[in-house]
Symmetry: D3
Subunit: 282 residues, 6 copies
Amino acid sequence: MLDSTLVQKIIDLALEEDLSGGDITSTLTVPEGKGGAGELVAKEPLVVCGLPLVGRILQTVSHGSGQVKLHTSEGQKVQKGAVLATIQADLRSLLAAERTILNFLQRLSGVATLTARVCGRARGVAVLDSRKTTPGLRVLEKYAVRTGGGRNHRFSLGDMILVKNNHIDANGGSVSKTLSRLHASAPLYMPVEVEVRSIDELIEALPFNPAVVMLDNMNDREIKRALSVIQQSGQAMQVEISGGVTAERIPKLKSLGVKIVSMGALTTQAQNVDISMRIKNR
Amino acid sequence: MLDSTLVQKIIDLALEEDLSGGDITSTLTVPEGKGGAGELVAKEPLVVCGLPLVGRILQTVSHGSGQVKLHTSEGQKVQKGAVLATIQADLRSLLAAERTILNFLQRLSGVATLTARVCGRARGVAVLDSRKTTPGLRVLEKYAVRTGGGRNHRFSLGDMILVKNNHIDANGGSVSKTLSRLHASAPLYMPVEVEVRSIDELIEALPFNPAVVMLDNMNDREIKRALSVIQQSGQAMQVEISGGVTAERIPKLKSLGVKIVSMGALTTQAQNVDISMRIKNR
Amino acid sequence: MLDSTLVQKIIDLALEEDLSGGDITSTLTVPEGKGGAGELVAKEPLVVCGLPLVGRILQTVSHGSGQVKLHTSEGQKVQKGAVLATIQADLRSLLAAERTILNFLQRLSGVATLTARVCGRARGVAVLDSRKTTPGLRVLEKYAVRTGGGRNHRFSLGDMILVKNNHIDANGGSVSKTLSRLHASAPLYMPVEVEVRSIDELIEALPFNPAVVMLDNMNDREIKRALSVIQQSGQAMQVEISGGVTAERIPKLKSLGVKIVSMGALTTQAQNVDISMRIKNR
Amino acid sequence: MLDSTLVQKIIDLALEEDLSGGDITSTLTVPEGKGGAGELVAKEPLVVCGLPLVGRILQTVSHGSGQVKLHTSEGQKVQKGAVLATIQADLRSLLAAERTILNFLQRLSGVATLTARVCGRARGVAVLDSRKTTPGLRVLEKYAVRTGGGRNHRFSLGDMILVKNNHIDANGGSVSKTLSRLHASAPLYMPVEVEVRSIDELIEALPFNPAVVMLDNMNDREIKRALSVIQQSGQAMQVEISGGVTAERIPKLKSLGVKIVSMGALTTQAQNVDISMRIKNR
Amino acid sequence: MLDSTLVQKIIDLALEEDLSGGDITSTLTVPEGKGGAGELVAKEPLVVCGLPLVGRILQTVSHGSGQVKLHTSEGQKVQKGAVLATIQADLRSLLAAERTILNFLQRLSGVATLTARVCGRARGVAVLDSRKTTPGLRVLEKYAVRTGGGRNHRFSLGDMILVKNNHIDANGGSVSKTLSRLHASAPLYMPVEVEVRSIDELIEALPFNPAVVMLDNMNDREIKRALSVIQQSGQAMQVEISGGVTAERIPKLKSLGVKIVSMGALTTQAQNVDISMRIKNR
Amino acid sequence: MLDSTLVQKIIDLALEEDLSGGDITSTLTVPEGKGGAGELVAKEPLVVCGLPLVGRILQTVSHGSGQVKLHTSEGQKVQKGAVLATIQADLRSLLAAERTILNFLQRLSGVATLTARVCGRARGVAVLDSRKTTPGLRVLEKYAVRTGGGRNHRFSLGDMILVKNNHIDANGGSVSKTLSRLHASAPLYMPVEVEVRSIDELIEALPFNPAVVMLDNMNDREIKRALSVIQQSGQAMQVEISGGVTAERIPKLKSLGVKIVSMGALTTQAQNVDISMRIKNR
């Protein structure tokens, strides 16, 4: 995912917002060409995510110079004080890139850390993310979810069909009219997921044999009932529980037979973890 | 700040990551030209932030059509269930823009809500943000801080001078050498802030009469001592407390005479608040 | 698909290559503000595709003025001489936009026309496109395929998994090693297609139950054999015939039980159809 | 022409449409850092065009690594099976760049191959292209025309003046009014071409001594007559035959004294040639 | 030329450099939605140039609102105190756009004013500009030259061939080798200009019948001699005097028979004229 | 300041306007791969500015090859004939980049040279620039001012507050209302400058203790009076003289006690200095 062309765009935008006026302090106080080194240090326990971006940001700022040496790897759980990587570069570039590097690492490691915490309680249940991501960071935050042990739901409105009530309502409330239209011209291999909010809606959707049924905002009793209805239909579809899923509730859901849950909270409730750069002159 | 040219760039990038393949579900199921309306609803108590973006995102997606009617205003505290705004547009555009609109609102209102909570405990003390913002969202998150009652520290490396130890070390550890260089060629009106980590460093910095002194990571005793040293110097500078500042600690700091604190947490620890769009066909 | 953010980018690039120096002839010879009208006329029988772009290109060139009235609709088969649409605008903008409008229409209608011709012989067999599209026009050419009655295969390297021999070779030639790795961390709902070039490879792939098996470059006898092997496996997967598929061969393939073929030729062998703009002064 | 700044833009757009979601299959199945090699192989006889783009695309995808070794040169006619070039790179980059490299080569070699076929029949007659090029590929397709032995007409609306009937009509149908206006303020050295559709129009245009006269859509008898009128005028201008020109007709036109023809078909009727990449692990 | 796609790019860049942080003063002091008007006033005698940009800049800043009423026209000579145009818009947008509007007008009117002054002394001699323009403003400054009564030389390295000594040296100093190569594959209608620095070089170039000969850095005696050599050759080419041309020298050159001079000074020596905006609240 | 992200944008735009059609002359006449060298030579006495851009422009054109060796340094005063730098590169790239390199150097050195001339007369008085810069070149021209010995005023509307009469008028003419609003929510450390045009306005502004007071368009008598009023107020603010400042007037202003003047003329009245590239084949 880090090979997405969107990654360089958010790096460029992040640098632009910090450096469109240049780094005036360093320009005025650091001699040109003076070398330096920086260590990226975890200030709290965390799951590392974003290391491959360090070199890219540095290269962009320094127009090609600078070296990064990694001491940890993506997804590794580290303790407070761990040195994640060492950067060698000219000091001006290092200082100009410092905050942008840290802002990416702190956010992505924050998402990975939260995801790892949730997944630690969800053995045997796949935990999916959502499109509730920070604007501009979609592909990176989904990468962080995967780094933390979660799985990715669709990346954008263009790579999967997810029929919600709004779509069905736009067809006069007719599930069959909606799904027939879809099957006529959808990209042939694109999976179709249908969101249902009640057993009635589920029963209406089943004959269309969607690849995935999303049970939205149902309580345990409804979920149990829905799983039973699906099983009786004999159809082989995936079932996703969405809405009101918390790390605490997953074991209970698992006991009901749930295998997939999706949680917007992986990205919306993640807080940045604390990482700093310790700079040394050379 | 919403007139920043950076705002349209992050909107464009957010739409690109969701819509580079188009909204395939809506294209296939919603009749072209069908109208619709959407209500933005608070799903929890929150401080509203980001409403002016709703129209801009909608206009970008719909190539100029669509109307937004606001029912609340920026910075207002609303309860769960409050309708923030109503959007009228063609249904396809509405559905295509929905998630991007919500992702911006949830993030910005999240920052504003946290900031308001902190500032509620900080009467008489100015609470500043930092450059520890989400990549690409700098100007918007700082706008959210202001909306929540906080104040803005510098926006980028280019609009203020902040001399840290790294800069001083790059000059052989000499504060005087560093600051003399600065004064010779800095943009004349650009304020100079100096970060000090001990009373010794403070004493060294005072003769250069910086506009702001940042006391970094000091405990209450050190802060008290520092404020006294500054007062005795008779110099009129602002004093900022940074590092280890929490909402809980602010009253104590205030009692020591502190008037300004800065907290990266306003943006790094904010969690998105829950806002949804209730869509109605027309 | 026309709501893809990529569409405006290729429009902008097309205008840039024609207009970075402006339209010098019209600037020097056409009075400013003079109105005009243009009729888009089919110069040969064709399937119409690209009409919604006409207005967008015109708006971009004219900074918002200009009107388009459509006389046909996307996918309609028209005869030589048919007027597809009428454009009203200031004459300078009309002349500046003319060639770009026609270049898009001629290419897209060319793809739609070829696709319709192929699909006319392929009743009951879905004809898919490929990623062998003109650089920069991917989303538009795939839209043209759909307009002509074809179906879309994946849009990009990011929206579906297609395991080819290169990927298997990179895992020491082990299908099982390759597909196990995949299942561990792939986006959960993303379909997996496996390309096989022999019955042996097919048998190796079957236990992994891919959503789609692509039979690549097989002759009729091999295809018959492969379909039989799949049927005996009792697995419900889609089977795509790729390589060496021509319009003439499809009926034979259909008789073998084939339901899906893919043809890069829909886009690589399409020739532009002839459409001109008849301009009238007002 | 490959030094045009437009070339990198269409490369970037082509990569964006294929890689905005990254190459998910290769990311999941190919070990990071694994090397590979690819051979570009002609699958049919063709005139090679586009080789200098291979390295540029590879560099863009691989952020600077990778090597290309050419075995043929631009414009060379090769047989089926010929190896055009060998690429060494990390396997992930190679697979991510493969389709984009081939899409450019197949299109450009297709245009060069068709042009070479036409020019082979046109000894002594210059064959020009037109602005009827694929959106976004103008400069590259014109390069392919030149590679195939054709000559380039103007590149854009800004680099040459071409007065058509629309321009004359906008001046009340007065050729003299139109051309006088032109001569007053046109860039001094920019050549003026006038399109005429009848002998009457030609006679009207001659006194203005255009650099080029385009005889548009005339039959052989009209062309003969027009050439005679021009010769008698004693003026030294170039004469271009446009509209209804085919490879088959060129010898006849040559016998009439025609020296220049222009054919939109060089780009609008070209079909991609077949080139594949044979990948080898290292 | 103002329809060049480059014009919006330099407008966008100019706004970005002034407004990436927004207009903080106006945001904080001007009530949202408050209307205003501004008059553009000449503070010295000048030739007006750039008025069509006023509306475009305003629209870009105000996202589509605002009106401009012109009181003068491009190329008009006005006296100190003249009101060039009146702008109605919301006051915040007006203030945010003010400096950018003025910076464009002052520069372009400066170039037009200088050009008009030079051309006033050059009746009967065409005064051409060069590519010595301000980076990013090429097309606009050339427009200003034309507005002031000058004529345009080539716009870029791609729209005309200009053979200089460097090109001839790269071919072993052989003019014939250089020009033969050119004639084989140059865009057919693209004019060829050859720069010569001595009578010997001129004599060498003449047989190739270039469209234009540039006499570079010659004194009056050499120019006289060169014109005589060209006349005796009986060839119909344009002759351009370049290097060391000043407004004062033009009458003398004219007396020698010179009809075309080129002067980089039109753009390199132009100084901005003084224009201000008088703002009125509504 | 050269680390501003805006610098690469104006370089890219400058190259685009010269090279969107490529360098046709060099492509057709210079053998591919032929090496060359170029010397940048001062054609008149000047203060050097812009050397660090030479390498960047060259790298952009040559996709990474090419070497620059500097023989002078930024801000150095050189005589006619001085060689500023030597460039080694492939000859095609060198010729393609030549004009763009020179256009930047000539403009920036022009600004630096004028600034140095002004500052030579202004010992003890700081000479500031303004936002009256060439569109797209703001950060570079301000860099040139600093290189010439001047000081920088604010860079954009976003990095400093400058209250003008327009802002005060928008608040019903009330200075106190305007400044109170400001103090409530301005970025805490952002300096506030207030422009006053009379002693009355000055007296009104003083109680708000602005960081800077700008005395706009005052004559010597008024300035003397204003300085006296400020001194009597006992407040420590900076005082800037703006409007009608010339190099000749500065000594007189200094004698009145003025320490800071601002002059838009540093950028609006600067003329390009003459620098050429002497090219040598290798």
